[in-house]
Each structure stands twice: as C-alpha cells, then as structure tokens.
C-alpha cells in the first residue's frame, strides 16, 4: 500500500536566521526533503538604477556603496571604470595601484565573511565566523585609515581616488600582509579536514560545469565548477596584467569546492597585495584635469570587474548631460542565485541552507 502525503509548504524568510538578509524561499517539503523551491526577492529594492539617472556621475559613487555592502570598494571600482571608459579619462598609475590594493583587500574581507557565514549555516556555532571577523576587523581598520569609513567607503572617483593614502597606511598594510598567510593556514587546519564539514559539503549542491556556464554564473561559484574564468585574467582591467597569480578551480562544483576556492583565493589575494605594495609608485592620486561635473559625450560604456562575488558590471549610457541617461547593473549575486533551485531540489532542508550560504549573496546587491 502506498500512502499519499501532501507536501508541506514552508516559507523560509524573509525573517529567518540564515537567509543573509531579507530573502524568501518558498520550499515544498516531503518530510525533510526539498521537492520544490521558489525564490522570492525584492524586499530590499531601492531602485538604485533609477536613482542614478537623477544624480551626477560623481554622486552616483555613493549609491554603489549601498549595493554589495560587504564589498563597497569593488562596487566603486566597477562603476568608476565604466565612467572612465565613457568619458575617456586616463587614470594616474598610483591611483590604479591603490585601486588594485583596495580591491584585493575587499576580496579578502568579503571571502572571510562568506566562509564564516557558510560555516555558520553548517551549524558551527559562530566560532569560525568570529575567527574570520578577527581578520576582517583589521581590514576594516585599514579602510578606516584610508577613507574614514568602515562599511560604505565612497573612496573612488572618476579619474582616481578621493584622496591619497595616509602615511601610516602602508606600514600597517605590510604588517597585515605579513601576518595573513599564517591565519589562512589556521583556517585551513581548523576547517578543511573536519569530518562533519566534509560530510555536510562534499557532493552536496552540485552545480555542473555546463549548467554553471549556461546560467552565466561567475566568480567563485563558476570557478568551483571547474571553469577557470576570472576577469582579472580573461579581460585584465586596470593593472591586473602586471601581477602574477593563479586561478584556483574546483572539480565537482559542490559546496566544498566553493568553500575551498574561496579559501585559495584568499592566498592569491595576499600574493597580489604583496606585489602591489612593492610596485606602488609615487605620483598623483587623481587625474588633475577631471572636472567635478562630468559631461561625457553621448555614447555608452560597460565597465566590469571581478568582484568577490563574481562579474560586477555597470552599463552606462550618456546623452551628454551631467547625469547618466541610463545605468544598468549586472549584479553577480542575483545571477549566481538563479541556479539555487536546481542545486537544492532533492536534498534535505539543511542542505538547502548550506547551498544557499555557499553561493554567498548580499541582498543589497540582489535587490538593488
């Protein structure tokens, strides 16, 4: 005899401890097994793209801070790259180096948060997270030194940076870069061989290579599926062709690979930071001829970078005015998230949480 049961529809979120913000998953459950999943987002929608049409190019930098609030610097970076392409501005070399330094520091900070929260989702009671916070705190102190802010930096400008590095910054950064590899090894020892973590992550939430490509995933999610695609190598923007580093890739595209790729990228970021500090030249921090009110010639430009979450792109259209005619954002979090349903269906409800955590999204960017 076969018993027929009704699926239980469970609303996970918008208020839920591990939806990383206001995200909602409508989950159909058969016992503990997820048979269907529907993503509902938009709770944090602020209309960044529309707002940008009423503000000048320089003012819009502030808006980008509020998107991926765990990686504001890289948001700034992608936006100013697009503006510079649009207005054809040459950026001084020192400013470019500082931008690379900021972007890699941001990647370290963002990946630390991603790994920490992923472990939290796996049920490790906050210990890994707080260990990650220890290093992130140092990074935030460094950012505070540079621009006075710890979360929304608003540091980059079309043509350069808002101001130069303070004198105490470089020694502090050097010390951080010297100490960081030991801490990364510590995380590796603490987590990577843990039997329970392996059981929870190996083979769970597989995103096959073809599917990762076909849903245009990017960043660590794509690289964990075995695709060595990194914009820093594939389309070297700014000065990334001057640094030597590797692209870590996973094999199966499961939770563990996504975790592992992020851990390896920490090491690569430290490597880039070391090279950038050595090569940092003297010079101007902003191109002197850039006016405060930019009036780019009518046209369009697309600037994209490898943000910690993936390919972050800004598409700008100018009609010759002081504000962009249209701004379109390619948010990596949102596009990586589209694969969630297929990765989760058929797994237990606990896996749904860990898979969601391993994609590493920030709702500020998903909803914009």
């Amino acid at each position: 005899m076969e018993l027929k049961t009704e699926p239980m529809i469970l609303n996970m979120g918008p208020q839920h401890p591990s939806t990383h913000g206001v995200f909602r998953m409508r989950v159909a459950l058969d016992g503990e097994i997820v048979t269907d999943l529907e993503m509902v987002f938009g709770y944090l929608h602020r209309g960044v793209e529309k707002l940008a049409e009423g503000r000048t190019y320089t003012q819009n930098v502030t808006l980008t801070d509020r998107m991926d609030y765990l990686a504001s610097m890289t948001n700034n970076f992608a936006y100013v790259l697009a503006v510079e392409k649009l207005a054809n501005i040459q950026v001084p070399e020192r400013a470019q180096y500082i931008r690379v330094i900021m972007a890699e520091m941001m990647r370290l900070s963002s990946h630390l948060m991603a790994i920490g929260f992923f472990l939290n989702d796996c049920g490790a009671f906050q210990t890994p997270l707080l260990y990650m916070y220890r290093e992130r705190e140092k990074l935030l102190d460094l950012f505070e030194m540079v621009c006075g802010q710890r979360l929304t930096y608003n540091y980059m400008r079309p043509g350069g940076l808002s101001h130069d590095l303070p004198p105490e910054f470089l020694p502090a950064l050097k010390r951080f870069v010297r100490e960081m590899p030991a801490f990364i090894d510590e995380y590796d020892r603490l987590l990577s061989d843990n039997e329970i973590l392996l059981a929870r992550t190996k083979g769970v939430g597989i995103l096959p290579r073809e599917m990762a490509i076909s849903c245009s995933a990017s960043g660590p999610v794509l690289r964990a599926s075995g695709v060595a695609w990194d914009l820093r190598k594939a389309d070297p923007y700014s000065l990334y062709d001057r640094f030597s580093f590797e692209i870590p890739t996973g094999q199966t595209g499961d939770n563990y690979d996504r975790y592992w790729v992020r851990l390896q990228e920490l090491k690569q970021s430290v490597k880039i930071l070391q090279q950038a500090i050595e090569q940092l030249p003297d010079g101007l921090h902003i191109a002197p001829e850039v006016p405060l009110y930019l009036h780019p010639a009518p046209g369009e430009a697309y600037g994209h970078i490898e943000s910690p979450k993936g390919e972050l792109g800004f598409y700008l259209v100018s009609d010759g005015g002081s504000a962009p005619y249209r701004m379109k954002i390619r948010p990596p979090s949102l596009i990586n998230l589209t694969a969630l349903r297929d990765m989760v269906i058929g797994w237990k409800i606990a896996d749904a949480i860990t898979v969601f955590g391993s994609i590493d999204i920030v709702l500020g960017e998903v909803d914009r």
Partner: protein
C-alpha cells in the same frame, strides 16, 4: 545507610513516625532543588563566558563584577516578558510541554550521589530509573512542537522523536558495560566500586555515552532540534516568557544531570584525593565535563538528519554491542578485572573507533532523484 535514613532515625525518636519520614525528604528535595537551580545559573554564566573565550571575545561582562549577575538579569528579562500563545495552537499542549521537559530532569537528580550516601533515594534499580525518567522529556519536546502550530516546530518535533529514540538505544547499551563491572544498578554502589575511574575500563562505553548524551541534551554536533540556522529555534520557536525560561532551564538542568551522570558512571563520582571535601570533587568533575561539552559545542558543525541517524544506528549501536560483548567476556574470564584489562579495552576502543571512521560513510549523494530536477538541459527560468 544514606544520610536521609540517619536523619529519619534521629527524628523518629522525638516525633511521630510519618512526620519523621516526611521531613527528611522535604528538606532533602529542597536542598537538591536549590543546588540544581544554583548550578544551572552558574553553568549558564560559565557557558557564556567560556564560549566567549573560545570565540576570542569577552562574553557578558557588564552586569555586575565580571558579568556575574548576567543570569539574574536574564531571569528578570524572561520573567517580565509577555507570554504569547499562538491563536491556532493547541493551548493545553502548549502549556503542558515546558513542564514535561523540565520536571523529568529534576527527577533524575533524586538518585545522583553527591557523597557516599548523600542522595535522595538509593534505588537498587538506579540505572533503570535514570534511563526511564530521562526519556520523558522527549514527549515534552514533541508536544511543544505539535502544540505550537508552527511548521518549524513541527519539523523539530519529528526530528526530536527520531533522534531521541535512536540515541536512547546506544546510550542505554553503553551503561550495561558499567553495570557489568560494578555488579550493581545502584548509582551509589557503582561509585563505591570504582577503585579506578571506569573511563579506564570502559573507554568505548564512555565515548558512546558521551555521544548519546550530547544527542539527548541537544548539543552540537547533534543539536538538530534547535538548529537555529535551519529551523529557527525548533520546538520552542513559539514560546516566550516563563514558558521559554522553563525550556531554557530544562535544557541546562539536563546538561547538569548529564555531566553528573558521566561523572558518576565513568569518573568515579564523589571519589577523589584527600585534601578537599568529597562533594567538592564531584562538583569539580561536573564542571570539567560541562566545559568539555561547551568545547565540543564551540568546535564542531552540525550533522544532517540522515547522517545523524546513520551515526546512531550504523556506528554507535554496533560499537555498543561490541563493548557489551568484550566486557561480558572479561567479566566471565577475569571476574576481578585485573590491570591488563584496561589495556585490552583501550585497544578494542581504538580499533572500533578507527574501523568505524574508515567504514562508516556519513555523507551520501542526493537523497532523492526527482524527475525534472536533473539539471542537464533544463531551462532555468521555468513558468510555474
């Protein structure tokens, strides 16, 4: 002869017998209850501070010197909160569940010896009593989950029954080894028989008992009932105010009881070196075991449901059977348990744990292959 009996005989000379019988029990119960609640307070404070140290942070340090008044502040906060009962919930079940969780843990304390003879009831079936009473709190968890009319609570309730029933089995079986060596079911005489702590004679039993206990008291890595990253707060999601406080107290009281039981069964209970009063040794052992539990909580991630059940039935259960077999064999061949038995048992324990970790696979593939859920060649945005 226990302290209570001495007390009774002293009283019986000067007052009617029923009164002389009643007073020692009342006094004893109040003392034990007072001790338990104080210990729970201390343990709550201790857990928060120790956990803070493990997580490179301070822990509570604002209320009173070194944050010592934090449990008091918690209690005041919890008592003054509104007691919310969900409208569509089952009110009787919602009311009765916290009591069902809290009371059995208190009952266990009746048989725990703090000192030779210092226990409320020296039952000759003490181990059975512990096993029987300790299981009642499962019903409380299930009733709470059912009465809340909350889907998270319901999932937690189902998990509670599955997990508790599974882990009871290895837990009970691991006590058999201890009983075989001690030759008694009374907790007091089990401690008396421990010339060396039984952890040396029963390493495997200790491991199984610890794992089973962690599952019983919902601690990581078995804290699936309250898995806050998955099902919010599990069966007590819908509880607030004093009812929630009862769950909270019950959970910690259970942790105290478990620490005490581990001390009694495996760490020679109230026995210790001369120099300190005997019951201080017992308290130190409880504290040590509890610190170990906090350590485990701060270190390990959580199992998944199927892995949890697999761990109980595929690893702990056979290991417990092996333990009983070996111990029984030794009890027949060397009834005096000479010193080399210790070595044999440690080798056996090492072999069982090692082979278990080699053979036992926790994670295994996708649980269910749903047609259409296969990722290949499916369009991502599907009309629903």
């Amino acid at each position: 002869m226990t302290y209570l009996e001495v007390f009774y005989q002293t009283l019986a000379r000067s007052m009617p017998e029923w009164l002389a019988y009643l007073i020692p029990f009342l006094v004893g119960s109040i003392v034990v209850l007072g001790f338990l609640l104080t210990t729970v307070m201390v343990f709550i404070y201790m857990e928060r501070r120790v956990l803070g140290r493990f997580q490179i942070r301070q822990g509570p340090n604002r209320t009173g010197p070194k944050g010592l008044l934090q449990p008091v502040a918690d209690a005041i906060k919890v008592l003054t909160k509104e007691d919310i009962v969900p409208l569509p919930g089952d009110k009787v079940a919602h009311f009765i569940a916290p009591i069902l969780v809290f009371i059995p843990t208190l009952l266990i304390f009746a048989v725990i010896p703090f000192q030779n003879g210092a226990l409320l009831a020296d039952l000759n079936i003490g181990v059975m009593y512990v096993a029987a009473v300790g299981t009642i709190s499962v019903i409380g968890a299930f009733v709470a989950g059912w009465g809340s009319n909350n889907k998270y609570s319901l999932i937690s309730a189902i998990r509670a029954v599955a997990q508790m029933v599974s882990y009871e089995v290895p837990l009970m079986l691991s006590m058999v080894g201890v009983v075989l060596i001690a030759g008694s079911l009374s907790l007091n005489s089990i401690v008396e028989k421990q010339h060396i702590p039984f952890i040396f004679l029963q390493p495997l039993g200790f491991f199984i008992f610890l794992a089973g206990s962690l599952a019983e008291i919902n601690r990581t890595p078995f804290d699936l009932l309250e898995a806050d990253s998955e099902i919010v707060a599990g069966f007590h999601t819908e509880y607030s105010g004093m009812k929630f406080a009862l769950f909270f107290l019950g959970e910690y009281a259970h942790a105290v009881v478990t620490s005490a039981l581990i001390s009694v069964f495996f760490l020679s209970g109230w026995k210790g070196f001369p120099g300190l009063p005997i019951f201080v040794w017992f308290l130190i052992k409880i504290g040590l075991v509890f610190t170990g539990i906090i350590w485990i909580r701060s270190t390990l991630p959580r199992f998944r449901v199927d892995q949890l059940m697999g761990f109980a039935w595929k690893f702990l259960f056979p290991a417990a059977l092996v333990n009983i077999f070996i111990t029984g064999l030794e009890a027949m061949v060397w009834p005096g348990f000479p010193w080399f038995v210790v070595i044999i048992n440690w080798i056996v324990a090492g072999a069982v744990v090692a082979s278990g970790s080699l053979l036992f696979v926790t994670g295994k593939g996708r649980i269910l292959e749903i047609p259409g859920a296969k990722p290949e060649g499916r369009s991502l945005i599907e009309a629903r």
